[in-house]
């Protein structure tokens, strides 16, 4: 932004006058896709300078609550809304997937760069039934690696988060014990382990404390070069998290009309088992014509040009089939008065 623009804006701001006819659209929700969304909204603003889409990452729960209260124009969430929540909405709300993400296990064991994890191993570690690194559940799948006899220190998220939701959702699917005793949620009653706040809290704890294991978003692991490893999927193959394997998980899953689906442990040989959609929550009827126009324009742009911006930032783009179905859903959004 040029300096002249800065002083002009400063002046207009403090005087409360409107310097230009910009329309501000407010959205709130998930932190996981925030970097990508901020990129998208900035790019969109460059193309349509009168549209300002302001997104704040206050958390998936926050996004759901604010869209239900009507204080924002759209929401965003990593975990789909429940039927009960949808019932509370004054105007029906659409779930529109934007990109895919993945959760990867990360650990700190001296001299070990990569480990293969089975679903039973992951569930056992976080349940507290597998307590040492040289447990057969781990050594069996990793024959060439020397694992110490040290106790495992699990690290989980202390804050409610979509990442935890995806991870616990996966564990609930692969471990009946987990589903019965802990369950799935943005925050759960973890049987063991330390709690770190945010991805950086978990990553920090794992990096600094020996013999720890935690879980973080893929982007985080890639950006910070954290040691990780492939996880065995429902077809029996050990698949590492990558843009391709995550998109494969979405392609292989059966997706309902309202797009509310969990794709953890999805079928498909190349599917990464701990993947998930992230959604935008948009009302089916938008009263303000300007805001409605901007939102629908953005959504169409997002499905076309926006997807291309996802991979450089380590977000997996949507499969083509999903994009097509979503376009049809977007056309149903009504803008303006009745």
């Amino acid at each position: 932004m040029r300096r002249r623009g800065f002083w002009m804006a400063l002046l207009s701001m403090t005087l409360g006058a409107t310097a230009h006819a910009a329309v501000l659209v407010n959205g709130a929700g998930a932190t996981f896709p925030y970097p990508l969304y901020s990129k998208w909204f900035d790019e969109f603003h460059k193309r349509h300078s009168e549209s300002q889409i302001n997104y704040q990452s206050i958390g998936s729960g926050g996004g759901i609550r604010q869209i239900l209260e009507g204080t924002v124009d759209f929401g965003a969430t990593d975990g789909p809304m429940s039927d009960e929540q949808l019932g509370q909405a004054k105007v029906p709300i659409l779930h529109l997937p934007t990109v895919l993400g993945a959760v990867v296990p990360t650990f700190n064991v001296a001299g070990v760069e990569s480990l293969k994890f089975t679903p039973e191993a992951l569930a056992g570690i976080f349940l507290g039934t597998i307590t040492h690194w040289n447990d057969p559940a781990l050594t069996k799948e990793n024959p060439g690696v020397s694992l110490p006899a040290a106790p495992i220190v699990p690290v989980h998220r202390s804050d409610g988060s979509g990442t935890s939701y995806v991870f616990t959702d996966y564990l609930s699917k692969v471990s009946p014990t987990w589903e019965k005793s802990v369950g799935r949620g943005t925050a759960v009653n973890w049987p063991v382990g330390l709690g770190g706040k945010g991805n950086e809290g978990v990553a920090g704890l794992v990096k600094q404390t020996p013999n720890t294991i935690g879980y973080v978003e893929l982007i985080y692991a890639v950006q910070n070069k954290l040691p990780s490893g492939p996880v065995r999927n429902s077809s029996g193959a050990f698949v590492a998290a990558s843009l391709e394997s995550v998109t494969a998980a979405a392609a292989g899953a059966t997706i309902p009309d309202d797009f509310r689906v969990s794709i953890t442990n999805a079928p498909g040989a190349g599917a990464y088992p701990i993947s998930s959609f992230t959604w935008l929550l948009v009302p089916t009827r938008i009263a303000d014509p300007d805001k409605g126009r901007i939102l629908t324009q953005f959504l169409s742009w997002m499905l076309a040009d926006g997807q291309a911006l996802a991979s450089p930032l380590n977000y997996a783009p949507l499969p083509q089939a999903v994009i097509e179905r979503e376009r049809k859903t977007i056309e149903k959004i009504q803008v303006g008065g009745q």
């Binding site: 804050d159 949620g185 009653n189 709690g195 706040k197 404390t209």
Partner: protein, 348 residues
Amino acid sequence: METLSPVVPPRRPSVPRLAIGRTAATSLTPVLAGRGERLLGSSRRRRWADPIFRTTSLAFALTVIAMTAVIASVLFLRSAPARAAFGWGFLTSSTWDPVFEHFGVLPFVWGTLASSAIALLLALPLGLGAAICLSELLPTRWSDPAAFLIELLVAVPSVVYGLVGVFVLVPLMRNIEGILQSTLGFLPIFAGPAYGIGLLTAGILLAVMIVPFVVTISREVLLAVPRAQRDAALALGATRWETVRHVVVPYARSGILGSVFLALARALGETMAVTMVIGNRPEISASLFAPAHTMAAVLANEFTEATGDVYLAALVEVALVLFVITIVVNALARLLILTVRAPDPARV
């Protein structure tokens, strides 16, 4: 320097004695010199100016009560679903399960009280000692800039404290805890693995965060003690330390305790920094090295993501419990003051 020198430069600023002559005279002389008619007006104006001033200041003072009452009622009303679901069991249960919706606040109460107690135990002597040094020993030229800088610590965002805590304090504590454990590990308070993250680390970080309150306010309070008090003690032959200990600090006791209240309150409500170093495990343990959780931390962690009416209400109830604890702790502290000092009914 223990003896009183006859010509004393204003090295330690205190409430001005000369100001009686200066301030009052310069502001009142025009009044008395007849121009006062403009200032005081007729006796009619004199009659209502005082009550108006008093009422206005009373009104503002009452808004404090009003605001606190509003917060209390919002907390009470919005926690209704949880109170209905759990009743008093909420206070005794140690489970925190958002999935199966069993909630209990006890581990958080423990973590809050323990970490705040550690913080106060560290911050009070440190802060008071530093304040004494800054007010009694250092000339104003040095102690003023030092005080400005210490005040800056208050403006450091909590998340920055947390980050510095994670990157600097935690590794340090891991080493220290390791040493403590190898020497004194048989004591229950030093038991358990030394992660570096835990109750003790959180207490120390909190102490760093609340020390500026104690230092800044205590220093100003100590500086404001009238010079006459010090002079009298010194004239009687006391050493400077004895003057400080027996005359200056007791005179300033109310202000110092006030600073402790402010510090304690901040410790109880601190969120972001604590959550990054305390381990966030809702468990009660005797060991200082164990991870714990606090009420404010669980609010900061889970409030924005909480979906589900009972879950949200349970979090609000945690806030309500914290509110009540603050009331109780303040009450206890005031009782302590009342027993410690000669009763001065206006000063509680």
